[in-house]
């Protein structure tokens, strides 16, 4: 789990050779498919626990906790 504070900017950087997304389980954010070296940023606006996944590889999952 990644913990951030309201107002923080969370940036995902794809360092993998394959394309991936970062997609909120509840549609709070969703990137396009990011190629290697591409980034996606999300400003944590509301406190909460946000599950997210890669839509291309649904078993790749994470959690963002916004305090």
């Amino acid at each position: 789990m990644i913990e951030v504070t309201v107002g923080d900017t969370v940036r995902w950087l794809n360092q993998d050779p394959l394309r991936h997304t970062t997609t909120s389980d509840t549609s709070v954010w969703s990137s396009s498919e990011l190629s290697r070296g591409e980034q996606f940023a999300f400003v944590a606006g509301k406190p909460g626990r946000y599950g997210y996944h890669c839509s291309a590889h649904p078993v790749m999952r994470g959690t963002l906790l916004v305090r």
Binding site: M1, V4, D8, R11, N14, M60
Partner: protein, 223 residues
């Protein structure tokens, strides 16, 4: 409070879900004031389910002997095996659009096409840079023979029989590929960049295996 920025690595996320390693969000401003954040992430239930792909894959002695018998693998032979393995799964996926009935099977196959074509493109580019020509080996030839037999079988099927046969085959294929990466290909690769490529594709192969197992469970329970 001053807003902070955090940088997450999707590759690290992949590695996390596949192997439960440390994910290290890096704060780009850390050199100024704020500390680097390091956290050990718990395993999410979905990632921990299915095959737990971070764990070594177990195969039968017969399957193991077929995969490790090329004791003299060099980088050219390893490359031929990886290309053959990717081409094998690409060939299976190309059977899907006209034969499968389930949307999840079709979506899975489309992802296999995208990823395995992508890996082959990266490998081909690397081989050109290294001036290495792939050399066939019993392992790569076995992969081709086996895939031809399986394609012949699947070509005769449509609907549920195809869906179940295809996805079962995907589970088996990715288990074997993962085993080969861990026990033969990655350990025997000599060139650093080839070794890095194999290291980098492992989480995706593990994710494919876990995904295939999820789809197989759906196919078997929701006929």
């Amino acid at each position: 409070m001053r807003p902070r920025r955090m940088l997450l690595s999707i590759a690290a996320l992949a590695a996390l879900t596949a192997s439960c390693r440390l994910l290290r969000p890096v704060n780009p401003n850390a050199q100024h004031a704020e500390p680097e954040v390091k956290q050990e992430l718990p395993i999410d239930s979905a990632a921990a389910s299915a095959s737990s792909p971070s764990q070594p894959v177990e195969l039968s002695p017969e399957q193991q002997s077929a995969l490790v018998r090329d004791a003299r693998l060099n980088d050219a032979k390893i490359s031929a095996v990886v290309l053959a393995a990717n081409n094998t799964d690409i060939s299976y996926a190309r059977l899907v659009p006209t034969r499968a009935s389930r949307a999840d099977v079709k979506e899975f196959a489309q992802r296999m096409l995208t990823d395995h074509i992508g890996v082959n493109a990266l490998l081909t580019e690397l081989l050109k840079k290294l001036d290495v020509t792939p050399e066939d080996t019993p392992m790569s030839l076995d992969l081709r023979d086996e895939s031809a037999e399986r394609r012949d079988l699947m070509r005769e099927l449509t609907g549920y029989p195809f869906d179940s046969t295809y996805i079962e085959n995907e589970v088996s294929y990715h288990r074997k590929f993962l085993y080969a990466i861990d026990n033969t290909l990655q350990p025997k690769a000599r060139n650093d960049e080839l070794q890095m490529l194999l290291t980098n594709i492992r989480p995706a192969v593990a994710a494919h295996l876990a995904h295939a197992e999820q789809v197989r469970a759906n196919v078997l329970t929701k006929r």
